[in-house]
Structure formats: C-alpha cells, structure tokens
C-alpha cells in the first residue's frame, strides 16, 4: 500500500498539473465580456463548436506524434528525454490522434445547421462545405490510419515498406495543416494563425534536423594522422 502511494502520485501529479494549467490558460484566453460556458454548451451550435475545437485537438496531437516520431531517428531529444519514453509516446499519440480525428469528423453529424450526413463527413469530396479543403482532411485521416497501423503490419510490409509508408506521413501532415487553414472557420484569428505557423515551422525544423543528423551519422569518421615512414 505504502509503496503504491508514490507511484500513484507520480501518475496523478502530471495529470492534475495539466488540468490546472489548462484551466488557467483557458481563463486567461477568454475574450472580454465572454458569455458563460453554459451558453456555449446550451447553444444550438455546440456541435459545430465542438467540431472546430476537436480539430485543434487532433492537429495538436498529430504535431506531438510527428515531433516525437522524428525524434526517434534524429535523437534530437537525447539527454532531455529517455528514448523508450519518446518511442512509447509516439506510438500512443499515433493511435490517440486517430480517435481525435474520428471524433472531429463525427461530432458534426448531429449539427442541426449543417446537416452533414455520414457519407459527406467520411468520403473525400462529398462534403458540400468547402469540398477540397475537407477532402484534404479526410484523406489525411485515412492515410494516418495506414501509417499508424503499419507498425503492427511490419511483418508483412517489411522494413522498406514500413519506412516508405512512414515517409507518407509528411505529405499527410501537410494535408492536415492545409485542411485546418482552409477549412477551419477560425483561421482568420491571430492566435490560430500563430499556432499553425509555429507548428508547421517546428515540423520543418525537426525534419531538416533529422536529415542532417542521419547524414552526419552515416558519414565515415575522418582518418587519423598518418604515421611517418
């Protein structure tokens, strides 16, 4: 019992920290004169609000998964984070982002204003609302499903197939970003634009870091001084 208490504290403490910090940030970010949260939840547009908000959640999880995935091979976080944690969290976020993306799409189903049906939400180019922009998001979702589950199908894919499938995650991320920018109703607001810019640049930075890190590791070590005679 006593040995379990520190373990429980170790698990619960970061969760509580995230909840408290998130609540404080939300409070601070609220626009002046904002109506109470109950107005938002009671609004007929609540599904639309949840759909937009869950898009940000899915995108944030995707960014986290991408950064950690790149960090596995680039070892950019070595000395800062232990590698098993990086791999485990990358794998977890890769699956969690799929749940968030499915939630993002399906939560719009009961919206009484947009009247989306299941086909419009899940089939590319079927949505009457910004068809190309929403199709990018749908295609990114299906592609990321394939990438996430490729780890479990590695036996059949082989190392090269698995690696090539993982490279597809970069254009899929770009598709998700363009989907957010072009389909998102909040893309006009400054905090959202800053977030998209910062996250996109972060992925570009870590990608180049990985390319350079792998290239420098594969370069042969310089030869030592040649003995005379």
């Amino acid at each position: 019992m006593n040995a379990r208490v520190p373990e429980l504290v170790r698990i619960i403490a970061p969760v509580l920290a995230v909840i408290i910090a998130g609540t404080i940030v939300t409070r601070l970010a609220m626009p002046a004169g904002a109506p109470p949260f109950s107005d938002t939840l009671g609004s007929v547009h609540r599904w639309w609000y949840l759909g937009r908000a869950s898009g940000f959640v899915a995108y944030a999880l995707l960014v986290g998964s991408m950064v950690l995935g790149i960090a596995i091979s680039s070892r950019v976080f070595d000395g800062l984070l232990v590698r098993p944690w990086v791999f485990e969290m990358h794998q977890f976020l890769s699956l969690f982002v799929l749940v968030a993306m499915a939630f993002h799409a399906l939560i719009l189903l009961p919206d009484p204003y947009a009247h989306f049906n299941l086909v419009e939400l899940l089939a590319p180019f079927a949505s009457p609302y910004r068809p190309l922009a929403t199709a990018l998001g749908t295609i990114a979702m299906y592609g990321l499903v394939a990438v996430a589950f490729s780890y479990y199908a590695k036996r059949w894919l082989g190392q090269a197939g698995w690696r090539n499938l993982h490279y597809v995650s970069f254009p899929l991320f770009a598709g998700a970003l363009v989907h957010g920018v072009t389909a998102g109703a909040d893309s006009g607001s400054t905090p959202v634009q800053v977030w998209y810019l910062a996250s996109g640049l972060a992925i570009v930075f870590f990608t180049f870091f990985r390319i350079l890190a792998v290239r420098s590791r594969s370069r042969p070590a310089p030869a030592g001084p040649q003995p005379f005679g």
């Binding site: 698990i11 970061p14 626009p31 609540r46 959640v57 944690w85 977890f92 890769s94």
Partner: protein
C-alpha cells in the same frame, strides 16, 4: 513518424504520461470549445442587439460575425436545408 525501425514495445508503459496526454486533449477540447463558443456567442448576441432594418433578410451580410460564416462562403450548404435557428452562425 520516423523512418527508423522502432524498438520493441512491451505493453503499457509510462501511464502518467499517457494519462497526461489524454488530460491535455480533454482540457484543450474544453478550452477551445469555450473560446470558440464565447467568441461566436458574443458576436451573435451583438448582432441580435443591433437594430436591424425591417426589410433585412435573415443572414443579411450586416448580421454576420467578424470571422465570416457559412452564409458568406461560396460553397455554403444548400439554402433549401432548414436552419434550426434564425440567428446567424458567426462561423
């Protein structure tokens, strides 16, 4: 998303980190919903409070919120679809 073979994974590790990620997602969902809803509900309330010309049609441009909306997009949902409210969705 790296192209390096991952190390074999052994079940559920780092439960605190995973729960924190779930908590982060939940808090972000709640916070973003509150922020988006507050902005839209506030602008919609301001539109409702503003005097409207008697002949102004529903979803007239002057009733739109600051960040656009369905009614102003070129590919808005078909107008034949019934709306649940006469209030314009801000976006």
């Amino acid at each position: 998303m790296s192209a390096r073979a991952p190390q074999p994974s052994g079940g559920v590790k780092f439960p605190g980190s995973k729960l924190s990620a779930v908590a982060f997602a939940a808090v972000l969902l709640g916070g973003a919903t509150a922020w988006i809803g507050a902005r839209d509900e506030r602008s919609a309330a301001a539109q409702d409070a503003a005097p409207q010309p008697a002949s102004a049609p529903v979803n007239a441009p002057q009733r739109l919120g600051p960040n656009g909306g369905y009614a102003r997009t070129n590919n808005a949902p078909a107008p034949a679809r019934p709306k649940a409210t006469t209030r314009t969705r801000a976006s």
